[in-house]
Symmetry: C2
DNA sequence: GTCTATACACAGATAGAC
DNA sequence: GTCTATCTGTGTATAGAC
């Protein structure tokens, strides 16, 4: 009795298998990192022969690079959409936190894989960190500057504030085992993530409501928008 | 020319070496995790023969357990000292954040090792998570409850609030590579940690200042204490 | 293109000299 | 107690049958 010979048409098996392999690789690499993962485990996770995997990707290292690459694509998309002068801080930051938390909930392995890479020194994401991510943060800092000038948010170190947003939201993936244990569960459920969002937004509120109110005429009708921790719309 | 034959008196070499090995093990395990670390790398890191290490600890797994054990001891001490009804929220939480950040700064490897263990599933810290840590959090939740009843802090989900404090502070160790890259440095410096503390305390301020002020007579002279983000004293 | 069988290197562990 | 030399299982990678 063969395992999983579903969707294995002889014509286009390669593209089909490639995705299966990448999914399995993300799962295994996210648990044990590059050095700790075994190609054989990845093979078992996608029910494909080990040699098959190495045939497609050439080597374990190339497979690792490909897995990371797929991860980084779209990693920054959420921030571009939500941390923008098109939104008020309260709306934009909640949208961002919700998007990051949804990522932690639906693709925890992706988040964990990235953390593994950072723990190991970030050799394989060096270019991404030094160029792409750094420039990204500089752009977002301009948005916070704008928000502050408009009297929409308190003065804050935008870079370190982003650090806190990343760490709080990604922790719901990376530290899920710890959080679940404290809550007496085996895994976090959807309600836990909602409670997390509410708690994070409570903290973020310290930034959204200006501690030193400016006299901007725009202030009154913007910062009064309530947190709306249950919705996830684009107001515009 | 021999390496490091300093402090190797024939009488008590064992206890001496044991510490050296544990230090090296923490360093290597924190970078690659249990599965990814090589005993030989640990041997090189402490300039001792591989067989020597296995002689002292029996196996790689036993060495890993011992390294984790040393880590968990005192992991919770900071919280017991600072998250206490002896302090006001503003003083206690800043003390706690400072202590956690100092840990991330001075012993980043310890923090990273714990993260590695969580990513791998937490098998070796299962008992700690399910019993010790869980009970610890329940105790701390009582402190937050007390603080809220006294009108000293806003209503907050104590468990998830602790999650945010852990994640924000430990990220300065676990994500140090990423943070440093964004800041254009090779490593975080002491100023970066201070800025991090300030930013975190800005967020924590949302909890310390009650959003729904109670009429407690104690309120006026307690919540007015300023953040004092530069000091670190115990006000009794 | 796919997969079985295998080569080769390396890791953890141990035997035994000192 | 300490450490060199070595055994044995496991891991990556590949050769070659189908």
């Amino acid at each position: 009795m063969k395992k999983a010979d579903l969707s294995r048409e002889p014509g286009v098996p390669r593209r089909n298998n490639t995705q299966q392999i990448l999914n399995a690789a993300e799962k295994i690499f996210s648990a044990y990192g590059f050095a700790g993962a075994r190609v054989d485990d990845i093979a078992k996770a996608c029910a494909l022969p080990k040699a098959n995997i190495l045939y497609y990707f050439g080597s374990k290292e190339e497979l690792y690079r490909a897995t990371l690459q797929r991860l980084l694509v779209g990693w920054l998309a959420d921030a571009d959409q939500w941390i923008s002068i098109k939104h008020t801080p309260i709306v934009g930051l909640e949208g961002y936190v919700r998007a990051k938390m949804e990522f932690s909930r639906s693709r925890p392995d992706a988040s964990r894989l990235f953390m593994h890479e950072l723990l190991a020194g970030g050799e394989y994401v060096r270019v991404f960190l030094d160029s792409t991510l750094r420039e990204h943060v500089e752009q977002k800092a301009l948005v916070f500057e704008y928000w502050h000038k408009e009297g929409l948010c308190a003065p804050v170190n935008a870079t370190h504030f982003l650090f806190t947003l990343w760490s709080m939201t990604q922790a719901y993936a990376d530290m899920q085992v710890q959080f679940a244990a404290v809550l007496g569960r085996r895994r976090l459920n959807i309600t836990d993530f909602e409670t997390g969002i509410s708690t994070i937004m409570q903290l973020v509120g310290a930034i959204c409501r200006t501690s030193q109110p400016l006299t901007s005429h725009k202030q009154a009708d913007t910062i009064q928008q309530k947190a709306a921790t249950k919705r996830n719309r684009i107001p515009q």
